[in-house]
């Protein structure tokens, strides 16, 4: 159930949401939920729908970018925009424009290689760049460090924080855990993914697939005495859309 400023609303009363779009799918799911979901304004709700839609688009775009998979020890980045840290993360180069540096990953994916968690962070930055445009993006994120869930900008901190929700939506960050992974291949200990539509997930290095495929792939990299299958964890990381919306209002 969606409540705007205390009033329950139906999805049909929200204008400008195209049928069959990611926004429309999210809106329907929110409205049919038994949970009471409070928004301060229509604009706030539309903003979340828009960011979720752009997150899905960015995930699909990153999948096509050609960015390689590499463990952190072997990660690489375009040195024109990024400095590689000792941990294997990428820190925005002094003087580089944040918006151009993020865009470069999508345009010159082959110059980059990283693990799945960092790819998720890149997806969210790209989505916000699409929503805000370069000027606001550069103002809001003058410094960026891309390194899984650690060193995140405070505005994006919640995408690294896994919580249980009553239901999951396109644009959520989910995690497939592989408890019995072979210790010689810890990069298969799990797969961070973006939920594209509740059925398909984008995982960096693995591509766009359904849950069964991802679980099978993880299970193919288990220790010989494995007795536990990989599984999709019952939790998600979500950006704090309300905080991000406030930033939009102050543009």
């Amino acid at each position: 159930m969606i409540f705007i400023a205390g009033d329950k609303i139906e999805p049909e009363s929200i204008p400008g949401v195209a049928q069959g779009s990611v926004e429309s799918s999210v809106l329907t799911q929110l409205a049919s939920s038994s949970e009471k979901l409070d928004y301060d304004s229509r604009e706030q709700l539309l903003f979340e729908l828009h960011v979720r839609s752009q997150t899905v688009a960015a995930a699909r775009e990153l999948d096509r970018s050609g960015m390689d998979f590499a463990i952190f020890r072997k990660s690489r980045c375009n040195p024109n925009f990024w400095d590689r840290t000792a941990e294997g993360g990428f820190r925005l180069k002094s003087g580089a424009k944040p918006s151009e540096a993020i865009q470069d990953i999508f345009e010159h994916g082959r110059k980059y290689a990283t693990e799945c968690a960092t790819a998720m962070v890149i997806v969210y930055y790209r989505a916000l760049l699409a929503v805000w445009g370069p000027e606001t993006f550069d103002r809001v994120f003058p410094k960026i460090e891309l390194m899984n869930w650690h060193h995140l900008d405070w505005l994006l901190r919640e995408i690294g924080l896994m919580k249980k929700y009553p239901f999951y939506l396109p644009g959520d960050r989910r995690y497939f855990a592989n408890p019995d992974v072979d210790p010689l291949t810890p990069e298969w200990q799990g797969e961070n993914v973006i939920d594209l539509n509740g059925k398909l997930y984008y995982g960096h290095g693995i591509g766009i697939h359904d849950a069964d495929f991802i679980i099978r792939s993880l299970n193919g990299n288990r220790i010989e005495d494995a007795d536990e299958s990989a599984y999709l964890m019952d939790s998600a990381g979500r950006p704090n859309y309300k905080n991000l919306f406030k930033v939009s209002q102050n543009r």
Partner: protein, 329 residues
């Protein structure tokens, strides 16, 4: 002919540490030239640390010395090659884990190699993966102290440590958290931050509060270790993972659980099943009070506990509220 009896593996160690890897390699090359057999004996002679074997690996391979090396040394080289393969073959491929030499080699690599952490990216990768094999496959608890030291040392250097941390928790023994706990009271901020993160605790405050936090954690661990389980969360999935969590039902019953599976070590009796049904009826905040009270009473007075747990749940709550001095809100 190479005949100098004063030369030992320790000599190569000494050269590497004092004069560097290059000098060690040059000296070893000289020895190989003088007498191949002696070079192999030197490596097998004991006192060699993994860092030296790693530095001499290209020369050992070039000179074809592997067959003359001890089983442990051969296994160590095999492990290095496996780890450094660009695309690793399927799990277990190529390494005979049940071979005692292989097990000894994993131990030897980690125990003698950890002190030279930072030698190169490849070297560190081998250390990290050996730690994972030792904890997950061999359940070697004797490396936990050294592994903890390595994690915190690398943390201070701001190096990559997520695989080491992952390896630490693969031992699936809540008791191992005691190795991390002392860092809660470290004078180094980075140590404390990491300890708080791994133990899922809030910042400790000033020195006095940090000491208090450490003591509280250790007594909490002692009280609850039989009821802790691994949640599946990790630094790879979350920036604030709760890696170990308390199973309130297990504590309520005083029933040890498997930390990895979160299942009772011994099957539940009919009576325990009934007690759990009662427990399930309680509100969430009441469950916390019940399990805490149960745990304390069980340790203090098993006979009284036995009477208490068989009373109606409303009575249990009433007694527990009085017994713990805590108020339900």
């Amino acid at each position: 002919m190479y005949t100098d009896p004063r030369l030992t593996a320790g000599t190569l160690e000494q050269i590497r540490r004092v004069r560097g890897t290059g000098a060690c390699q040059r000296r070893f090359q000289e020895i190989i030239r003088q007498q191949k057999e002696g070079a192999a004996k030197l490596l097998n002679g004991g006192g060699l640390r993994f860092a030296t074997l790693f530095a001499l690996k290209p020369q050992i391979e070039e000179a074809g010395l592997e067959p003359k090396l001890s089983g442990k040394m051969q296994a160590a080289l095999q492990i290095c090659n496996k780890v450094l393969e660009e695309k690793k073959s399927l799990p277990g491929g190529g390494i005979p884990y049940s071979d005692e030499n292989v097990r000894n080699a994993f131990q030897w690599i980690f125990q003698t190699g950890a002190r030279d952490d930072g030698l190169s990216n490849e070297y560190d990768e081998i250390l990290d993966l050996c730690a994972g094999v030792l904890t997950r496959r061999y359940r070697e608890k004797n490396i936990l102290s050294g592994l903890t030291e390595l994690i915190f040392r690398r943390n201070r250097k701001k190096g990559y440590l997520h695989d080491l941390i992952w390896a630490f928790f693969q031992i699936h023994d809540p008791g191992s958290l005691r190795y991390i706990a002392p860092y809660l009271r470290s004078s180094n901020t980075r140590d404390r931050e990491l300890a708080h993160l791994l133990l899922h605790l809030p910042e400790g405050g000033d020195v006095r509060k940090r000491e208090e936090q450490y003591r509280n954690f250790m007594s909490w661990l002692q009280e609850n270790s039989a009821y802790l389980y691994y949640t599946g969360e990790s630094l790879q999935s979350s920036n604030q993972p709760e890696i170990c969590s308390l199973d309130r039902e297990a504590k309520y019953l005083g029933k040890q659980i498997s930390p990895r599976k979160r299942t009772p070590v011994d099957p539940l009796t009919q009576e325990e099943e009934e007690s759990l049904s009662c427990f399930a009826q309680a509100e969430e905040n009441e469950k916390a009070v019940l399990s805490d009270y149960s745990g304390k009473l069980h340790a203090r007075n098993p006979e009284l506990w036995n009477q208490w747990i068989h009373s109606p749940v409303s009575e249990q709550i009433r007694v527990a509220k009085g017994g713990t001095g805590r108020r339900l809100v």
